[in-house]
C-alpha cells in the first residue's frame, strides 16, 4: 500500500511543475444526438459541444471534453473528476438539491412517445426510458410499466425488438430516429412538457464558474448566436429564445 502511494505521488509530481491556468473539464455523455455524441472520427460532437466550446472561448477558458456514463455523471461531478455537465440534462428540483445549474441554454423541453404503430398502449403498456431521466420519472407516475436502460439508444432498440410497446424520450432525440426509420416508427399521442429547460450542471461550491458561464449564456441569448445554433442543430421550427 505504501508503495502504491509513493507511486501515486511520483506520478503526480511529473506534471506538477507547470502551474498554468487550470483547464475546465467538461463532462458529457456522448450518446445523445443531436445534443452530444461521438462522431465517425471518434471525437465528441453535437449541439452542446459546439455551444460549450463557444462559451469557453468567450469566457477565455481552456476547456477539455470528458465522456462519462449517464448513470454516474452527477457523482463524478461532485467528486471532482470534471467541472461541468453538458449532457442534455434538464433542470429539476431533485437535481438542484445535489448540484447547481446555470440558466437554461435550451428552452423547457417536450418529451414524446414513439412506437411501431399509432395505437400502441402508452398508458398501460410497457414504456422504455433512460435510467435517471425526467422521462423515466414521468413514466413511473403514469399507469405504464417502466423499463429502464442505461443509454437512450438501448431504449429505442428495446421498442424495436418488442420488449417495450413504446419509448419515451426527448422529442429532439427522437426526431432523427423517426425520420431515419422511413415510416417504420411513429410519434404517439401529444408531447409532454417536462423539466425547466436544459442547463449546465456545476458543483454547488463552484459559484464563480457558474456566474462566468451564466454571463456568457446571457450574452449569447442577447446577440442571437444561441438561437442560430439551436436552429442549426434542431431545425428551423425549434423553440428559440425571444
Amino acid at each position: 500500500m505504501k508503495n502504491t502511494l509513493l507511486l501515486a505521488a511520483g506520478l503526480a509530481l511529473a506534471p506538477a511543475a507547470s502551474f498554468a491556468q487550470d483547464t475546465i473539464r467538461m463532462g458529457t455523455e456522448g450518446a445523445y444526438p443531436p445534443y452530444n455524441f461521438i462522431n465517425d472520427s471518434g471525437t465528441v460532437d453535437g449541439f452542446e459541444i459546439e455551444l460549450g466550446n463557444v462559451l469557453c472561448e468567450r469566457a477565455g477558458l481552456t476547456c477539455e471534453w470528458v465522456t462519462n456514463d449517464w448513470d454516474s455523471i452527477i457523482p463524478n461531478l461532485v467528486s471532482g473528476n470534471y467541472d461541468t455537465i453538458m449532457a442534455g440534462m434538464s433542470i429539476t428540483d431533485e437535481r438542484d438539491e445535489v448540484i447547481d445549474f446555470t440558466q437554461d441554454y435550451y428552452p423547457p423541453t417536450v418529451s414524446s412517445y414513439v412506437a411501431l404503430s399509432e395505437d400502441a398502449d402508452i398508458d398501460g403498456g410497457v414504456v422504455a426510458a433512460q435510467t435517471a431521466t425526467i422521462q423515466a420519472g414521468h413514466v413511473a407516475e403514469t399507469g405504464a410499466t417502466l423499463l429502464e436502460y442505461a443509454t437512450p439508444e438501448e431504449t429505442v432498440a428495446a421498442m424495436r425488438n418488442g420488449e417495450a410497446d413504446a419509448v419515451f424520450a426527448d422529442y429532439d432525440y427522437l426526431v432523427p430516429v423517426v425520420e431515419a426509420s422511413g415510416g417504420e416508427l411513429v410519434f404517439v399521442g401529444d408531447g409532454v412538457p417536462l423539466g425547466g429547460g436544459i442547463g449546465m450542471g456545476l458543483r454547488e461550491s463552484d459559484g464563480d464558474l457558474r456566474e462566468t458561464f451564466d454571463a456568457v449564456i446571457t450574452e449569447m441569448k442577447e446577440d442571437g448566436s444561441l438561437n442560430e445554433m439551436l436552429r442549426k442543430w434542431f431545425g428551423e421550427d425549434t423553440a428559440v429564445y425571444e
Binding site: 501515486a8 506534471p15 443531436p34 471518434g42 471532482g80 443509454t151 424495436r160
Partner: protein
Amino acid sequence: MFSYCADPETLEGLAWLSCYLTTGKHLAFYQAFGTVLLLLAVTAPAALAFGFAGAVAARSRIAPLSWLGKGYIAVVRGVPDIAFFLFFVIALDQGIEWLRHKALCPDWDQPIRQGNDFVVCSAAKMPLGNAAQWVHDLYGFWLAVVTFAIVFGAFAANVLYGAMRAVPRAQLETAEAYGMAPRQVFRRILVPQMWVYALPGLSNTWMVLLKATPLLFLLGIQDIVYWARDLGGSKTPQFTDYPHGDWRVYYFGALLVFYLLCTKLSGIALDRLEGRIGHVDARIARAERRAGARQADAMGPQ
C-alpha cells in the same frame, strides 16, 4: 482512411465496409483491445505480487501481520467484485487527493466536504486540472490496475497460502536438518515447491481475471465493451456517414470470439506449463519412491 472514402454514400459492399471499419471510431475500438491486453499484462504480475505478499503475511508467526494477511484475503474475497470496484476506485482517488491536499495546501481553511461536494485545492487534484487528457487516461488506467490487482491478489493469496501448506512437511524438516535458516528454507525449498500445488488454482484465477476485464467499462475507461455498445447501436444518417441499424449482435459477437480466443490460448499455455511442472513433480515423486525403497532394503526384512 482510404482516398475513396470521401463520399461513403456512393460506396457499396466491400468498399463501403473497408471505409466503415477504418473510421476513427473503429480505430479507437481496435486500440481498446490493446488496452485490455495491456491491463492483463500489467495486472497479472501485480496481482501475483499482492497474492504472494498476502500469503506470506497470512502464514507469518507475528500475529498482527497474520491478521492483516488473513483479513485481506477474507474481506476482498467476500465482497462482490462490482461493489468493490465502484466503491474502491472512488475511495482510492479521494484518499490520494485528501493526502495530497493535507501535504500541499496546509493553509486551506475551507472544509473538504461541502455538502455533496468533495473539494480539494487545485494543487492537490489528481491528476492536476491542467494536465493533458492522456495523463487523466493513464491515471484512470493505473487506478484500474491497482483495483484489479487488489481483488485478484486476494484470490491468488488464498491459492498460494494453501499451496505453501501443501508442501510436505518432510521436505522442510529435511532442509532444517541440513542446517538451513527459516529464511533459506522458505526461499530454497518452500517457494520452489509450492508452484506445483498453486498452478491449478492460479490458472483458474487467471481465467477469471481475463473474463473480468469488461469491468473496466464500469471504471469509466473506454474499453472494448464501451466501443462495442456505441458502435453497435443504430445510427441515423444525420450524425454519421455510415448509418446502420442495430448491429450490437455483431460487435458483441466479435467480443465473444476475442474472449474465447484469449481463454483458449491461455488454456493451451497453462496446460503446457502444468505438464512441464507436473513432469518435474513426477520425477521428484519417483526419486522419493526409490529413496524409500532403498531405505526399506537397508532396513531388511522385519
